[in-house]
């Protein structure tokens, strides 16, 4: 297709510019390729070295950071091409991306066919979409605009786009929580319980999308989570389970790319959500799955109607792809546990597993509920006995021992550390806590630096129903830098309804 390849060759010079997921190409304005090809800033171009080829956005350079005949790439592109300084690359015009036509058609209200969804996901994984295109795809599909058939097609396309692990066992169990509830870090406890029981649970978790921590962020405090598919297999073969980051194993590469844009948009649409969750389950080889679906005014799912709609849709898709599923609707009116942020949540998990007297009981009971349901779904424990069986395993210390073994098999077992800065937020009144804003608490934890700063976040000490004295600590902000502590405090100072206290009335 591309003639005069030689004429388009340039020498790679590393500038070390990190642009996250979108590939950028840096070329001199007066470079022969720019002139002969008619490239201008933000043209999408194809970059080829030896056999590999990726797509990037052009940035035109008018200073001498590049010399004549040189070209540079953002670090994401350097990684994708595995290129070294002074190697040659070819830059050429991009042929039209056909799958964008399907997105335009979707915008105009037409359904996406299975074939179109396969092509879209293929182009996304190949890096052919710019963030503009990714944003349009996500937006066009959000707001309940995908039919069941389309969500099934999207889920299958995502499954096909990544690797798929097989375990040589007929039953693989898994769990997932439909996010939005700070501190609700039951997964590591559930994995510990059900693997101690003898089920196989190779858990791949995600990092935070819009929350202060994902399970992978939290587990990274305690152990290594970026394992290869081969390493995961070894851990699971030995221990019957793992708790790793799904991304490293490239189980759903399309989802990993889309999630970054969803984060920037702060949307998490039902179709993408179902496809993301279930494609990763299939990719991880799971076939028996428990879904925790917390509902609350400030949780992701705000009403029983929204949850029921998602539940029905998810059950349909699970059925279509051969997954046995049980969806459990839970209380989402306030955070679970005390810590919000990776290290603080890790501390809570360990205290529950160690059966410490001061361990957060709500986190313990939530984990036991889910573990019990999973034991029952497996058919190995009779209906109604799951919770007791799970409690027995946890309180005997067997779950903690199993958790330690899994962490060690994953590469290390470290204790959570404390952030450099703490700041107590105290109540200005006496009374009773009647309402908690999950989103605002999460926002404070994020402004304080979570999840990027592992020890940042907050300790929530005032669950609904707590009797509060004036001056009593409601929550403690943890931050690694003074700047971030101040952002969190500034936000706190402008919001009055983070924790609502009903004042004591004296007679």
């Amino acid at each position: 297709m591309i003639k005069h390849q030689k004429e388009n060759e340039l020498i790679f010079k590393r500038l070390g510019i990190h642009t996250q997921n979108e590939h950028f190409v840096y070329m001199r304005e007066d470079c022969h390729v720019c002139i002969s090809e008619g490239f201008e800033a933000l043209t999408r171009v194809r970059i080829t070295n030896d056999n590999k080829s990726i797509v990037g956005s052009l940035n035109v350079v008018t200073t001498d950071i590049l010399k004549q005949g040189e070209v540079s790439l953002s670090e994401s592109a350097v990684l994708a091409l595995n290129i070294k300084e002074e190697e040659k690359i070819t830059v050429s015009h991009l042929h039209p991306i056909d799958s964008l036509r399907a997105i335009r058609s979707k915008i105009y209200g037409n359904d996406l066919t299975d074939k179109e969804l396969q092509e879209i996901i293929k182009d996304i994984v190949a890096g052919n979409y710019s963030t503009i295109h990714l944003s349009a795809f996500l937006t066009a599909c959000a707001g309940y605009k995908m039919k069941s058939k389309e969500i099934i097609g999207l889920t299958k396309a995502m499954i096909n786009s990544g690797k798929q692990i097989t375990w040589g066992k007929s039953m693989i169990v898994d769990k997932h929580c439909i996010g939005g509830l700070p501190g609700n870090r039951t997964t590591p406890i559930v994995v510990a319980i059900v693997t101690a029981f003898g089920l196989t649970m190779p858990k791949t978790s995600s990092r935070a999308i819009t929350s202060p921590a994902g399970t992978a962020d939290t587990m990274e405090v305690i152990t290594k989570v970026n394992l290869t598919a081969k390493e995961i297999k070894k851990v699971v073969g030995k221990e019957g389970g793992c708790i790793v980051w799904g991304n490293t194993a490239r189980l759903s590469p399309a989802d990993d790319i889309l999630i970054r844009v969803e984060r920037a948009l702060d949307i998490d649409s039902e179709g993408q959500l179902i496809a993301s969750v279930l494609s990763k389950k299939v990719a991880a080889g799971s076939n028996h799955v428990i879904i925790d679906m917390p509902i609350g005014e400030t949780a992701k799912l705000r009403s029983i109607d929204a949850a029921t709609q998602l539940k029905n849709e998810m059950e349909k898709v699970a059925h279509a792809i051969g997954i046995k599923i049980k969806i459990i609707i839970t209380d989402g009116t306030q955070p679970v546990g005390r810590g919000i942020g990776p290290a603080l949540e890790a501390r809570d998990i360990l205290s529950v597993l160690k059966n410490k007297p001061d361990a957060p009981q709500d986190l313990k009971e939530r984990a036991l509920l889910l573990a019990g349901e999973l034991l029952e779904l497996s058919g190995k424990v009779e209906s109604g006995d799951g919770n007791n069986k799970a409690r027995e395993i946890l309180e005997s210390g067997n779950a903690y021992n199993k958790f330690c073994s899994i962490c060690k098999a994953q590469g290390r077992f470290s204790k959570p550390k404390l952030a450099k800065y703490q700041h107590e937020i105290k109540s200005e009144h006496s009374g009773t806590v009647i309402k908690v804003d999950n989103r605002k608490l999460a926002k404070i934890a994020k402004l304080a630096g979570a999840p990027n700063n592992k020890t940042a976040g907050l300790d929530f000490l005032a669950p609904i129903g707590t009797k509060i004295e004036k001056g009593q600590v409601l929550y403690i902000i943890h931050a690694e830098s003074r700047g971030e502590l101040e952002y969190a405090l500034e936000y706190h100072s402008t919001k009055k309804d983070i924790i609502t206290i009903e004042l004591d009335t004296k007679f």
Copy 2:
């Protein structure tokens, strides 16, 4: 709001990186601001110098193109801040952009209120949206998802976001074509005719969005089009009209930003389209407007239904903002005139204005139709007499003289030049032309380099109904570089239905 300003100060070093509309900030990974503020690649940050402040996306640098304490900006940001080397800037966290909540609400099917639209447009003009956000806004509103009330709100928000010109005259006339038809460059001819008649027509045009040329691109071949509001006023005061680029006058700054993203998405939604067209009319002070709406299988409007829907919506919005409008549905089955591309269209315009015998008659008649309607809409010419009056002005040479005067008043009067490379596409058969694909012809003109290369494009010589001999030239590709000529030829060679010829049947 921002404490410790001093700590966040960095020295500006120019790297000369052009990224088009999105602002980028380049900071060292080990820079004290990155560390203390917790910034990572693609964080959105606020950049402040003296009194001005903009928002940009962070790119983190890990080589010595920046020294400790230095920061760089993309050239768009350099321009926006008007900053010089070694000046100080402050980089700080971005406070949440509230209007994004309205976009999320729109994605979930809620209507945008006037207040929300005002806030969205305000944030867009302030540069607070990344391309991801712009793309989500455009996508959420595309596909007939805006109600009349919302389109009116958007139009008013766009009007408020830019400057507005007043002319001290009660009647200002204008015209606009709802794009998609290559070569349909009637505007300069209409302006010449109606201003020669004595009406006031200060025409602000756009550059190409997805086409090979916009009126501004074409007129730039002949005269200066990037005039300030003050300069425009001077030209119109002297000549009664102008044909300038709307962007320089900042008449609809939000639209200028949105158009770049629409181009990348290749969508042009009805709500955005109406708001874009009518806000610019109001900003330009117009109150009597003719709209040319070509319909054809490969035009922007493909059916009478689509055109009627747009016509009705546009009439409602025009009425709401006080514009007297007439919408004329025209033939859009093939290009108008011969040239497609800035310089080639400029040549056609001049030949019509000069009444050359070989001037394209279809372009002439289309211009007379619209000029006649405009004369009638003004009420200064009786209904039914418009076309004759327009013809009289054109054929007398008065229109040409007026056109020359306007161009000179705008700054220059240059003749179109010819591209370095030409390539004739000849028919492989004898027969009659029965169908023309506007989009594919436009695509060839774009691949050949139009509109960025002014003389690039094509000459279309085979309108519907033309009897063609084998070997007769159907069209001529014009290109400024050999690479671009080859892209156009490559595309041509893979498409068989650009010009459909019904073969002669011999008995």
